[in-house]
């Protein structure tokens, strides 16, 4: 059976459809609230500097911890997006595995 580019593309796009909707859900439910908390703490640090509770040196050190927390959130978000990409790729491969393997006559796409 000859493979048809149009049909293959339709199957792949169908499998990919909606695969990335979870990325925005993750960002809304995890990333944004976490960044809001960190922003609130940074504002509080500034308020303590203004009130002369913290010296600038102390503020710099606690700010460094907050920025590291921000980096953690960014890295975790990256990981979540990579997971979505991984899932989408595997959904696409899985969707076309049968038709491609039958057409070629051996299991080119396996283990998906």
């Amino acid at each position: 059976m000859a493979l048809d580019t149009g049909n293959l593309l339709k199957t792949m796009v169908g499998a990919a459809e909606g695969a990335f909707t979870g990325s925005w859900h993750d960002i809304k439910s995890y990333t944004v609230p976490e960044l809001e908390k960190i922003a609130s703490t940074i504002v509080s640090i500034e308020a303590n500097v203004v009130a002369r509770n913290y010296t600038q040196d102390v503020a710099n050190l606690i700010l460094r911890m907050q920025l590291r927390a921000t980096e953690s959130v960014i890295v975790a978000t990256t990981g979540l997006v990579l997971l979505q990409v991984e899932r989408a790729l595997n959904q696409i491969l899985s969707a076309i595995a049968d038709v491609v393997n039958k057409a070629i006559g051996f299991p080119l796409i396996a283990g998906v």
Binding site: T55, R68, V75, E86, L108
Partner: protein, 209 residues
């Protein structure tokens, strides 16, 4: 058929990558690791309990760094073990799959941090899990340094991270409320880093959403 990660395949070129893509289930992140998941939950619980006790009792002697150094030693060893495990499971791993992500992390560093607050430490590398655990290690070290400074002390390690004797003196002389506020902000930074690692590990377990 055994499967390989795309990250490892990239060094063999695009053609080989395409063949591997076609031959295996694609794996872009390290698989879920129950030991790391449990280790993070255990650390989180111990840390929150510890900080609640320290905040409540500062500046009493039983809340001092000296009286609680064993906690830091035990937790640093526990997190270091998780970092080793993450590295061992994916020695060539990378989390900077996109240039945009790497750029975002670097921009965060360069936006506001004054030169005197920066350290000479290179940014952590490895898989996303390895990087997240390394951040927790750094956060815990800074927590220990703040704890020492509140009691007027510093160490060679802490001095190397900017915790000078004069900072320790100023924090030791600060009112109790300021010390408690500071410890709360330290705790929130550590918690954010731990939550990041836990969220990622849980997403791997659940297959995202």
């Amino acid at each position: 058929m055994a499967c390989r990660s795309l990250g490892k395949a990239k060094t063999t070129g695009w053609l080989a990558s395409a063949v591997l893509l076609a031959a295996c289930a694609v794996q872009l992140v390290t698989p879920y690791d129950e030991v790391i998941d449990n280790g993070l939950m255990s650390f989180n619980q111990d840390f929150l309990q510890f900080m609640a006790r320290i905040k409540e009792n500062v500046p009493a002697e039983d809340a001092s760094y000296a009286s609680n150094a064993s906690f830091y030693n035990a937790q640093q060893a526990a997190i270091a073990t998780l970092v080793q495990r993450a590295k061992a499971s994916d020695p060539g791993g990378s989390c900077s799959g996109t240039a945009a992500t790497l750029g975002a992390v670097q921009r965060v560093d360069s936006i506001v941090l004054p030169d005197e607050a920066k350290t000479d430490q290179p940014p952590p590398t490895g898989s996303c899990t390895t990087i997240l655990l390394t951040y927790i290690q750094d956060q815990l070290t800074d927590t220990a340094c703040f704890h020492q400074a509140i009691y007027g002390q510093t160490s060679t390690t802490c001095e190397g991270r900017g915790f000078t004797t004069s900072i320790a003196q100023s924090l030791q002389n600060a009112p109790q409320a300021t010390k408690q506020t500071l410890l709360g902000q330290v705790e929130s930074a550590v918690t954010a880093s731990v939550t990041a690692a836990m969220t990622f590990e849980l997403a791997k377990k659940q297959g995202v959403n």
